[in-house]
Amino acid sequence: MDIPIQRSYEEINEKIRQGKAVVLRADEMTELVSSEGVKSAFKKVDVVTTGTFGAMCSSGAFINFGHTRPKMKATSVWLNDVEAYGALAAVDIYLGATQVQEDDPLNRVHPGRFRYGGGHVIEDLIAGRPVRLRAKSYGTDCYPLREYETTVTIRDLRDAFLYNPRNSYQNYNCAVNLSKRTIYTYMGILRPNMANATYSSAGQLSPLLNDPYYWTIGVGTRIFLGGAAGVVSWRGTQHNPDAPRGENGVVREGAGTIAVTGDMKEMSAEYIRGASLVGYGCSLMVGLGVPIPILNEELARFTGVSDRDIVCQVVDYGIDYPNAVNRALCELSYAELKSGRVEVQGRNIPAAPLSSYPMAVRVAENLKSWIRDGGFVLGAPQVALPSAPFPAV
C-alpha cells in the first residue's frame, strides 16, 4: 500500500524486540487522541490493538485426522455426528461452523434450538474434549478401508487449522423488526412492531474500523485469533471497499472483511465458542484482534475514532431483509446504540448488542501484552486488500 511512512515497520518491530514499544488499545487511543490531539498521539504511540468477539458464521476448520491402518480415503466424515466435507485428499476434511448435528429437528418445531453443530465441535476440540470421529468410504486398491470409527482429542489429530473465509466485518447492520410477529434471526430475537433493536460490532475497538482503508491490514498481517497467533490469509468473501464512507473515511455499512487462519492446537476455548442461534442455526463465536502499526499521523487519527463517529444502517429484518429490499430506515452511531436506547422513526426503543464488548476489550488487552511483553512483532502485509481512494473522492 502506497502511503506516507513516518515510522517504519522495522522501527516498530525493533522497539517491540527491545520491549520499548508503546502500545494502546483502540479505546485508549480514542481517549488519547481526544485529549491530546492527533500529532501528540502519533508521537507517543507505536501500535494500537483492536479486538472483536462475536458470532462469525463464515468460519470452519481444516482437519487432517492422520492415516488409518489399513489406509482409507474418507469420503463422508462426521465429528460428534456433525458432518464435515470429505471431498479432499484421503484424511483431509473441512468442518463448517454452521453444519448442524445429524437428526437435529432444525426448524420443524419453530423456533429450532440448534443445540450442537460444527462450531460446537470446534470448541470441544480446542477445549481438549474427546470427540467421536466416524468415516466412510467406497474403498480403493491403495485405500481399502471402508469404515472407521474412533474417539479423538485435538492432540490425536495430525493438523487442525481454523480457516475462516469471512470474519471481522468492518461494520454491520442494526436490526429491527417491522413485521407483526416475533422473528428469530442471526441478529437475535426481534420483537414485532419494532419493539427492540440489535447490533453486532465492537465499534471503536473493531479491527477494520480502525484501519478503514486497510493500509496495514493485508495478507500476512499477524493477528490474535482464538487466543493464539494467527494470520490474515486473504481478503474475506464479500469484501467491498466501495461501500459508502463518512467524511472521516469510516464505512457506514458492512464493507471490508478478512479471511483468517490459525492453529487450533494453540487456541483457547475462552475465545472460540460454539453458538446456537435460536430459530436460525449453529455458528461460531470468534475472538479476533488485529494490531495496527501507527506508521503515520493519519493512522493515529484513524485509530482515534470513537463510537460517536461510527454509524451503521438500521435495517428491517421482518420484511425488507428476507425479501432482499435494500433499504435502511436510518443511521445510528455506536455511541447511541451502546447507550441502550435509540430513536428510530420517531420512537425510542431498547437496543441490545450481540457481540461482546467486554470480550473485545479482553482480546485487545491480550494482544497488547503480547506485543509489549512477549515480543509479538508485526507482519507487514504482503498483498494489500482491495481498498478505496483516500481521501475519499
Partner: protein, 142 residues
C-alpha cells in the same frame, strides 16, 4: 425494604378467597402485579413483586402457604453459568424485567435474579447456553 418476585399458584379450592387483600392489609406487604393468568375454576397464576421488611416478607409468605397457595420464589428459578457467559448481550434483547441488564461503563451483562420472572426467554436467546432453569410459562419450556 426488601423485595421478592414470586409465582403464586391458586388451586380451585382457594381461588376466590381474598388472600392477596389480607396479605396487603394484615401483613403490610406492598404488591405489584407483574403477570397474571386466571383460568376460571381451574387455576390462577400470579407473578407478584412483594415488598416489605425482611420480617414482613417471611410472615407474608408463611401466611400464603397457610392458605395453601403454592409459592415459588422466582429468583431461585433461573441460573447463569458465569463461566459460559461471554457478556454478548443477546439476552438483554428479550429480558422483560431488566433482570439481565448491561452495565454501560463496561458493557458487562449483569444478572439480577431478584428482578427475574422466570419467563425463560433468556434461555432461548443465549447463544452459548449460559442460562438454565425452569421457566414458568409453558410456551417457553425449553
Amino acid at each position: 425494604m426488601a423485595s421478592k418476585n414470586v409465582l403464586l399458584i391458586f388451586k380451585p379450592n382457594i381461588m376466590y378467597r381474598p388472600i392477596i387483600y389480607r396479605l396487603a392489609t394484615e401483613y403490610g406487604i406492598i404488591f405489584n402485579v407483574l403477570e397474571a393468568k386466571i383460568l376460571p375454576k381451574q387455576e390462577g397464576r400470579l407473578i407478584l413483586e412483594l415488598s416489605g421488611t425482611d420480617e414482613d416478607l417471611v410472615r407474608g409468605i408463611a401466611y400464603l402457604e397457610e392458605e395453601l397457595v403454592q409459592v415459588e420464589v422466582l429468583a431461585d428459578k433461573m441460573h447463569r453459568d458465569e463461566e459460559r457467559c461471554v457478556s454478548c448481550g443477546a439476552c438483554t434483547a428479550v429480558c422483560r424485567t431488566d433482570a439481565l441488564s448491561i452495565d454501560r461503563a463496561t458493557m458487562e451483562v449483569r444478572f439480577h435474579p431478584e428482578r427475574c420472572v422466570a419467563c425463560g426467554l433468556c434461555i432461548l436467546a443465549c447463544p452459548v447456553k449460559a442460562m438454565s432453569g425452569v421457566s414458568i410459562d409453558n410456551e417457553n419450556e425449553i
